[in-house]
């Protein structure tokens, strides 16, 4: 459990436009490992919603299965949440959004949840341009099942469980760009300054907004090149269930646009993050794809808002649904009644 509610609440905590304080945006106490990147992301979402003065109950939180997918329980406790099944959150989100276009949909997934079992659903929800924020809490491994490789790139660590990842990784940002996603961004869990504005922009965006967030798994995503202390624990737990998880601090960073930052992971390895510069054209899809590709070749991960469509038609537009939420239509708007049935009967004689 890594962040806990303050015991004492100051009577004049800062309030937002709705008169709510941050505590109104909190959720249950996290049961993730101390220092887990996912908790930082929860905090960022909480902050963004607070600052945007979003009514908590107008948000619906959706997820699949995994440590990441648990996290919707740990923010916005006044919102409904749906922790569904592994890899299938996109379809559940599609249905939810169709039922009520007036809520804000925040989907939380992991890299295993999205890039392995769920990659088909992910691709198809991108195609639908569903109006939602889709957050991948990307730690390059399966946290909840104890550290298997996932299908995304090895974020900051070349090996886990001793053997190198053997397959070409799936870059979700590149994939989404390719598939015509209308909002695509990448960030790092510990970089609040970058992450919070991205979340705000994504929520504001009408259509599908992907934020792929690098979010270190402090427990399993560790390399062989690790610190002495870490090696000690490895040896200790050798050939057994990993049953010792050291307490860690959250990894934070903050760096300027246009620069590269080396971020040191808990195990001593590092990732090189590069923030898009101020003059980056966020409306050029092709250029974005190339930039992502080029940075990768150089061993750097490009972060920031990478693409945003000028105009974006979400699924409701495509399906031409009424402005009123479908779940609010009254019986008389839905049921044609007996009169019409007679004409149907007539046509079937």
């Amino acid at each position: 459990m890594s962040y806990s509610k303050p015991k004492f609440r100051h009577p004049d905590l800062p309030k937002n436009e709705l008169g709510l304080s941050k505590t109104d945006y909190e959720g249950a106490i996290s049961t993730l490992c101390a220092g887990c990147g996912h908790d930082s992301i929860s905090a960022a979402i909480l902050n963004a919603c607070f600052e945007m003065s979003i009514e908590p109950h107008r948000v619906a939180k959706l997820s699949g299965i995994g440590c990441s997918s648990k996290s919707p329980a740990y923010f916005l406790g006044k919102s409904h949440g749906f922790n569904s099944v592994h890899g299938r959150m996109p379809s559940v989100a599609t249905g939810a959004n169709l039922a009520n276009r007036d809520l804000i949909y925040i989907g939380i997934s992991g890299d295993g949840d999205t890039a392995s079992i769920g990659v088909g659903q992910f691709m198809h929800v991108v195609r639908r341009n569903l109006d939602m924020l889709y957050m991948v809490e990307n730690n390059g491994c399966y946290g909840l099942t104890k550290g298997q490789d996932s299908a995304t790139s090895d974020l900051g660590s070349a090996t886990k469980k001793g053997r190198p990842n053997m397959y070409e990784p799936i870059d979700l940002v590149a994939l989404a760009l390719r598939l015509g996603a209308t909002f695509v961004a990448r960030s790092f869990s510990g970089d609040k300054k970058q992450l919070e504005p991205l979340i705000k922009a994504a929520i504001t965006h009408k259509g599908f907004a992907l934020i792929d967030v690098i979010s270190p798994c402090v427990t399993f995503n560790n390399t062989a090149t690790s610190t002495k202390g870490y090696e000690y624990i490895r040896s200790h737990a050798d050939n057994m269930e990993v049953d010792f998880v050291p307490m860690r601090e959250e990894i934070c960073t903050s760096y300027k646009a246009g620069t590269t930052q080396q971020v040191c992971m808990h195990d001593g390895s590092s990732v090189h993050l590069h923030k898009t510069a101020a003059d980056f054209d966020i409306h050029d899809r092709q250029a974005a794809m190339e930039a992502v590709y080029d940075h990768k070749k150089e061993g750097r991960i490009l972060t920031g808002l990478l693409y945003m469509a000028h105009d974006s038609e979400d699924l409701h537009k495509v399906l031409d649904t009424v402005p009123k939420p479908l779940n609010a239509l009254r019986e008389d708007e839905l049921c044609p009644g007996s009169r019409f049935l007679n004409s149907i009967n007539e046509g079937l004689r």
Partner: protein, 624 residues
């Protein structure tokens, strides 16, 4: 040769090649008889391909209103040389074989106990039309015309039908009528019309049962329309035969009936998903969020939805699934009918699960039960699975007209509004069994700024929807779900019982499309002196009436269309019945079960006094 003599009571079968436009022509044929006031039940027996393979269309004409398959063929109209040899074999002695005589008939195929009627359809087309496509298409109309003469069908009725079909494309009417006239004329000139098997306007032969109010409709269209009436707004789906036309019908009607008058926009949303998992996921998401949602699928789709169905059961999300059964397992025979998914649907998904099933038997029930299933789902907060089948779903059936009670209101079940929440003193507990019926209260997302929010999950939780691994809380919840299933018995449609009139210790139990031929078989046996009471099951869980019926009889036949006697198993399991009381009559070769075969099985069993379940082997010899 003694010819079969029959007025308004026979079976005619068309042997065609698929993709040649025969289905529409055959449909017109069946409908013309229906419009003459005579009950018909046409059945399309088609291959799992698009063009070039044998396809059949079997029409039962039955003034008495028997709509199931009878067994046997009295008239066979064959325009497919591929299947001709077998087709000739299938005609009943004394029946007719009508064929395309453009090429001479292979004399080795001739039978002496069948009357052969040759009409040179192909030659007639070659003479009449230049265009290859027209030759193919009009051939069908020509044989319909010929049949009109041979069977005494009212030509005016046929002309009307052509008019109806091409409304808005009037220029197509004349050539089609002309083609029919060609056939009519040829038949009148060359044969003694009408044949010994023929039709008469029902009114003319003074039948007292009037079918003038009846309609001819397929179950899938009815189910699609039922979803409109039931208030479905969201459908996620994936194409699969034979369920596709449920959604197609829903969409067609929605585009007529669900356009918002103010904006001209849609009061519905249909998404063709990437697969069946996603289709079910969409429905679950929508239902969780307070919209009525449904999907339709068949065999393989049901298997793929199994994980999600378990989620909906445990997380208590109402959702409606129309499962149009086909012959399994695996891909099986995708264009053949069966009732083989009973166990897979009742116990879908790992862990202790049970699902509510509805068994429609007619298009009217497809309509009624689909509409009702949304109320049931909301009321019970659990998936409702409508168990239709290919025979019911894809064939036209004669049915009493559809009805709707305008006084009736949607039952959205136990949903708390913002006001309800404001008026509540106690803490809201999503899984609290306040009413002791196993059904808790829910809220839709976005209802109230402060109260009523909860977290839905497929994992264990306490009554306040908080995650827990506490064994007691888990068991408490699982027991409540059982209790809810108990409650469901009060809400699901009751069985239909028909008593024999005189006291009997023998009963028959069946469901869905097995019902029609069963009723007919029971009447046959009644004529022979064997009285059998019947019960038609309309839902699972089975309620007290079902148990009572079985308790009241020494022997109960359970007739179904699958190999393993799945409904019988479900009955034994859930009602704790002695198995030897229930005698299976099974049929599962992919064609609808026939009245004759049911009667035969029952007769065998009653006379030899067997009490062990019997399995009717359809397989005599295997063709290689």
């Amino acid at each position: 040769m003694r010819r079969i003599e029959a007025v308004n009571d026979f079976v005619i079968k068309f042997a065609n090649v698929n993709g040649t436009g025969s289905a529409s022509a055959n449909h017109m044929f069946a409908k013309s008889i229906f419009r003459m006031g005579i009950p018909v039940s046409p059945r399309n027996i088609f291959p799992s391909n698009i063009q070039g393979l044998p396809t059949w269309y079997e029409v039962r004409v039955s003034q008495k209103g028997y709509l199931g398959r009878r067994g046997g063929v009295d008239i066979l109209l064959c325009v497919n040389p591929q299947s001709m040899a077998d087709d000739i074999q299938s005609v009943e002695p004394g029946g007719y074989f009508i064929y395309d005589s453009s090429k001479p008939l292979d004399q080795r195929l001739r039978r002496n106990d069948v009357e052969f009627i040759g009409i040179p359809f192909t030659q007639m087309c070659l003479r009449e039309y230049d265009d290859a496509r027209q030759r193919l298409l009009f051939k069908n109309m020509i044989y319909v015309g010929a049949l009109a003469a041979l069977l005494n069908i009212d030509f005016a009725v046929l002309k009307d039908l052509v008019g109806d079909q091409f409304r808005g494309k009037e220029k197509l009417i004349t050539p089609n009528v002309h083609a029919m006239e060609l056939g009519y004329q040829y038949a009148t000139e060359n044969f003694d019309c009408p044949l010994s098997i023929r039709v008469e306007h029902a009114s003319e032969i003074g039948e007292h049962i009037s079918y003038t109010k009846h309609i001819l409709m397929d179950g899938n269209t009815a189910a699609g329309l039922g979803a409109i009436y039931g208030g479905a707004t969201v459908a996620g789906w994936y194409p699969i035969t034979p369920s596709t036309s449920v959604i197609e019908a829903f969409e067609r009607y929605a585009r007529r009936l669900r356009i918002d008058p103010g904006t001209g926009q849609n009061n519905f949303a249909i998404v063709q998903a990437e697969d069946e998992l996603a289709a079910m996921g969409i429905c679950i998401g929508a239902a969780w969020n307070g919209a009525r949602s449904f999907t339709a699928t068949s065999g393989p789709g049901l298997s793929l939805m199994s994980e999600f169905l378990g989620l909906a059961y445990f997380a208590e999300v109402p959702v409606v699934l129309v499962n149009v059964q086909r012959a399994g397992p695996s891909t099986g025979m995708p264009t053949r009918t069966q009732q083989p998914d009973i166990l897979a649907a009742a116990y879908a998904s790992h862990g202790d699960t049970k699902h509510v099933l509805l068994f429609p038997s007619t298009p009217k029930e497809c309509f009624d039960m689909t509409a009702q299933s949304f109320d049931l789902a909301d009321r019970l907060q659990t998936p409702i699975i409508l168990m239709s089948d290919l025979d019911l779903g894809m064939n036209d059936h004669m049915s009493p007209p559809l009805e709707w009670d305008d006084e009736r209101e949607f039952d959205r079940g136990k949903v708390l509004s913002a006001e309800d929440l404001d008026n509540m003193d106690e803490r809201f507990g999503r899984y609290l069994d306040t009413d002791e019926d196993g059904i808790p209260y829910r809220t839709y997302p976005g209802t109230h700024p402060e109260k009523g929010a909860f977290f839905t999950r497929g994992s264990s939780r306490d009554v306040y929807a908080t995650y827990t691994e506490d064994g007691e809380a888990y068991v408490h919840n699982m027991e409540r779900l059982l209790q809810k299933f108990e409650t469901a018995k009060e809400y699901v449609p009751a069985p239909k019982i028909k008593l024999a009139g005189k006291k009997t210790s023998v009963g028959a139990l069946f469901f869905g499309t097995t019902a029609s031929p069963c009723y007919e078989a029971i009447e046959m046996l009644a004529d022979e002196g064997s009285a059998i009471d019947t019960i038609r099951i309309r839902a699972f869980p089975f309620n007290a009436e079902v148990e009572q019926f079985i308790a009241d009889h020494d022997t109960v036949f359970v007739i179904e269309q699958n190999r393993d006697g799945q409904l019988r198993r479900l009955l034994i399991n859930e009602c704790e019945l002695p198995p030897n009381k229930l005698i299976s009559i099974l049929h599962y070769d992919g064609l609808p079960i026939t009245a004759r075969s049911i009667a035969m099985s029952m007769r065998d069993s009653l006379t030899t006094n067997k009490v062990t379940p019997i399995r009717r082997k359809t397989a005599k010899k295997v063709k290689s």
